[in-house]
Symmetry: D2
Subunit: 338 residues, 4 copies
Amino acid sequence: MIQIGIIGAGRIGKVHCESIMRYVKGATVAAMADPFINEQTEEWIRQIGVPRIERDYRKLLDDSSIDAVLICSSTDTHAQISLEAIAAGKHVFCEKPIDHSVEKILQVRDALVGKRLCYQVGFNRRFDHNFAAVRTAIADGKIGDLNVLRICSRDPQAPPVSYIRVSGGIFLDMTIHDFDMVRYLSGDEIESVFAAGGVLVDPAIGDAGDVDTAVVTLRLRSGALAVIDNCRRSVYGYDQRAEAFGALGQVAISNDTSSNAVLSDAHGVTAEKPLLFFLERYMQAYVAEISDFVRCIERGEPAPVGIEDGLQAVRIGLAAKRSLETGRPVALSEIEGE
Amino acid sequence: MIQIGIIGAGRIGKVHCESIMRYVKGATVAAMADPFINEQTEEWIRQIGVPRIERDYRKLLDDSSIDAVLICSSTDTHAQISLEAIAAGKHVFCEKPIDHSVEKILQVRDALVGKRLCYQVGFNRRFDHNFAAVRTAIADGKIGDLNVLRICSRDPQAPPVSYIRVSGGIFLDMTIHDFDMVRYLSGDEIESVFAAGGVLVDPAIGDAGDVDTAVVTLRLRSGALAVIDNCRRSVYGYDQRAEAFGALGQVAISNDTSSNAVLSDAHGVTAEKPLLFFLERYMQAYVAEISDFVRCIERGEPAPVGIEDGLQAVRIGLAAKRSLETGRPVALSEIEGE
Amino acid sequence: MIQIGIIGAGRIGKVHCESIMRYVKGATVAAMADPFINEQTEEWIRQIGVPRIERDYRKLLDDSSIDAVLICSSTDTHAQISLEAIAAGKHVFCEKPIDHSVEKILQVRDALVGKRLCYQVGFNRRFDHNFAAVRTAIADGKIGDLNVLRICSRDPQAPPVSYIRVSGGIFLDMTIHDFDMVRYLSGDEIESVFAAGGVLVDPAIGDAGDVDTAVVTLRLRSGALAVIDNCRRSVYGYDQRAEAFGALGQVAISNDTSSNAVLSDAHGVTAEKPLLFFLERYMQAYVAEISDFVRCIERGEPAPVGIEDGLQAVRIGLAAKRSLETGRPVALSEIEGE
Amino acid sequence: MIQIGIIGAGRIGKVHCESIMRYVKGATVAAMADPFINEQTEEWIRQIGVPRIERDYRKLLDDSSIDAVLICSSTDTHAQISLEAIAAGKHVFCEKPIDHSVEKILQVRDALVGKRLCYQVGFNRRFDHNFAAVRTAIADGKIGDLNVLRICSRDPQAPPVSYIRVSGGIFLDMTIHDFDMVRYLSGDEIESVFAAGGVLVDPAIGDAGDVDTAVVTLRLRSGALAVIDNCRRSVYGYDQRAEAFGALGQVAISNDTSSNAVLSDAHGVTAEKPLLFFLERYMQAYVAEISDFVRCIERGEPAPVGIEDGLQAVRIGLAAKRSLETGRPVALSEIEGE
């Protein structure tokens, strides 16, 4: 039974906690740590069966009975805690992004060298049934050589501006999942990035120095093109689609709904809206990613989404950011960490 | 150039007139006849380019320059006019049903014996792209031996009760198209019929001695089952679907719409309603059926939908009527005309 | 923590065991009993964490620490074990059908009178997200008064003929779910039944005295009509659809798939087949039905699917059987147990 | 009856000829002119009922009985013939693009000043039912302010390299339709263009100095973004889709098929491929655009797609071309003709 410590008891920390306690075989949450934990959360944690709650995550790192930690704290602490956890010999599952700075990610990468530790990054979409079907179709040659990959990702509503300010910007916070999907689905690496963006949802997002709507064009090493469009607000729910077009065909995925019921009445023929947001949409993927993490620890195998994946997604995000700032395409080679 | 006379200037007469004058190659409407024609209709006929209007259809039958007539008058006149037209050596296209009485249809059939005349019955759905796709799939063996055929046919709104009274009842007026579709799609004949019905749309229809909602189960000679469900009123438009299920698969058709646009908004994901009614839905089929009729005249070939098809559909309708009246399944052999 | 004993360690017994141990909050499987249990199954049961295995189910009934039993044994034992379990003061979850005989079901019903016990019947589709959406739409008045209800249910492959022989026939074994769905979705009771059937899949099924394909028409008390079509074999997978049509509109559900990926290539535009069979399709429903059973025990509430539901579905099945045998519609009042 | 002369008897000239002779009310083709016409084409023209065939288009311009000309000759002659036709007082329908040079288009624009002539450009997609539904939804405020517009346009197969060489490149030949759609659907003008492209279909296209696959990002004056993806070869047929996303929702159109039949079998659930190419997909649009042209002539109204629309689409195409050449976004103001 793998003993897991969760660092950070915010929304995503609780998601993982519940998923491990209820659905992940072979693992249990031995402890949760959060300096700002409140009574309500403490009660929630106890009720779900976690026996130990700490303020200081170092208590978890110092506990030799804990095999692995999940880093679910704020982004600015990910790299530092990663380093300490690796030093303490813990397997690490780190939420995305590892850091906004390539340098810090490289430090984590260096720290891992020679260690037989699993280090997994929280790109949950890699564990989703729909995206997996696209990857399988491509990998199995069903569409032949890839020509164009289109990804659409829209959130149901924008986060608070206070969050936007520390988020690292849309590309490192939101598009980073899509950048990872481009790499994952294509099995290829990115050569250059052109990003266009606008403030069309909320001027306050613009005041915070970010855009809320973006279209990013990426050139892959194979010469294929990828295009991502994002928006921070979609009134019809969480929009998560992808389409891969190649020499022999095209494979596309659409949104999941809570039922496939269709109502035909005087107003039209109406299906359900997409599932509301990431918890509804990706719950099974969260379970699957931690299950895989646990399995890799058990078997001594490398994590299915490793430090390199975490690094590359951030580099692409930084290239997109620079492209938006300069108004020109940016080669990935311009970004350190190659 | 085939010279056509149209008998009856009601709705379906005008549909055929317009379709011939605008879309049917190799034919023209030489004259229209209707005893109750009004000024507005006369003007409409002239404007569309028909050179001659008569009150008495016999003028058209007497005119040797007219090659063929379309019988679009009320049902109770179809058989009589058919007989006169055949006697006059005209090719005949007769709207459905030929008659409510098998005996009269048999008289028409007898009259055709030995004549080299095209006699076509107006089962327009046989010329529809969707229904044709089902037939082709079955005929090509795509679903293997047929097990179950389901047909759904719902009108957007019930006709006036005055019409219901002379319509022959729902089975001879509305379901007759579906009975023909069962024969056409399956390529098989009907053995027995069980009809259930109810008055769920309008009590006035019940007062007129008819039902407005029906489910009819048919056993085919092969042993396959067919089930038809009808309703006189569908608030979302004209509902025209079919599904054939067999040993190797299933083929299904759904409704056509005026565009495939889908709106996703706070209320749901909404597509367009089906096309409103038969004029919108089957306009191309009306053109195709008359084009085929003209081609068969030109080539001296038998009509694609003949007197036998007209006869069988009426026999099935009469069996359904008797089933509803008696509350038991009725073998087709119980109905005269075998 | 509700202590559950499972009687019968066949396929469905194991499904419930796994679902309780992994997903059902507030309950645990305290013991499993099966006279024919083998080593492999014993190991499976222990590994999933069930502490006790018995040959004789009476050991479970005698154990006062066990609150409830799940009857997953063969159908011919359901009523007898139900009676014994009720006598022992256990809450009971009984797989469908309770029995092929109305008399025996009535004995169980009588035994429950005055007892504060939950008695739930295993109509899992009532806990399915798609069917629930249809019921909600109807209950919320979205389609107005019901006119026609269509249910299609096709299994991917026929069970062994040895099973067919003891199954009670297609109507008590397979269609019984659809009969329950007609009652559940419509919120109405059945007045009469007409069943047509054929042996189109496998002559051996006919030799065993059953049909493999059926179309059943039901008249509801409201006057609405329902039509069910079944087949024992569908090459494209488990086909589970329903459509309710009423005065204000229609609501329809289609099949679930393992992903919504669509491949467009030189052959066409291809989506995935429906989920293979009931385990894949209804796993969440199995979890939900037991979760509800447990909640009702905890709260002292009546079961969401009670003895009356189990009784009526069997009565409808028997009416269908008699209809097929006699070739005429059968009123439900002809079947004892009203 | 508007008398029309068609200049150019190639594929698109014949499409217009047939559509006018068969479907366009109030107009007839009085003559066709083509210097390279062969016997087979001459016969085709006569058979369809066109009374006059010329080698020299000037014969048509000199004929005062001809009201309007359709310029369907090669692109390099469009502007010159336009000028001559305008000078001769003819209404003009000119196939796209008017010219590859802005200067020449401006000459045509100048020539039209003060003339009461209809000058229409052949952007047929403006007359398509699906694209019209998107425009209507946007114009009616169904999706609120536009945020992102996505257009996908893929041809079933690349034209011969000899055609590619004189085509002006993918942006002026193929994407020009999509550029027009961005303006038409959004009701807005373009501010800047970034084009990425690659040679992924056929190296010979690269050798001819063109790309065969492209992703173009456009910034609109409102700040909204548009993204077009094109490919010269799609094995599953002509792919013509669009999606407009805004503050209140999203509207999307997909491909049309020859029937909506869906086959479920052991391989999956398969719908038909999109209609093969532009003749199949846009035939009704060709009829509608000429019908509108004729109506505008009759009523003395300006053409629904005018010289300005022809000019702007070419300017956007030239900006895309420059963007591809320079690897940077190009402001539309950099292109002459503002």
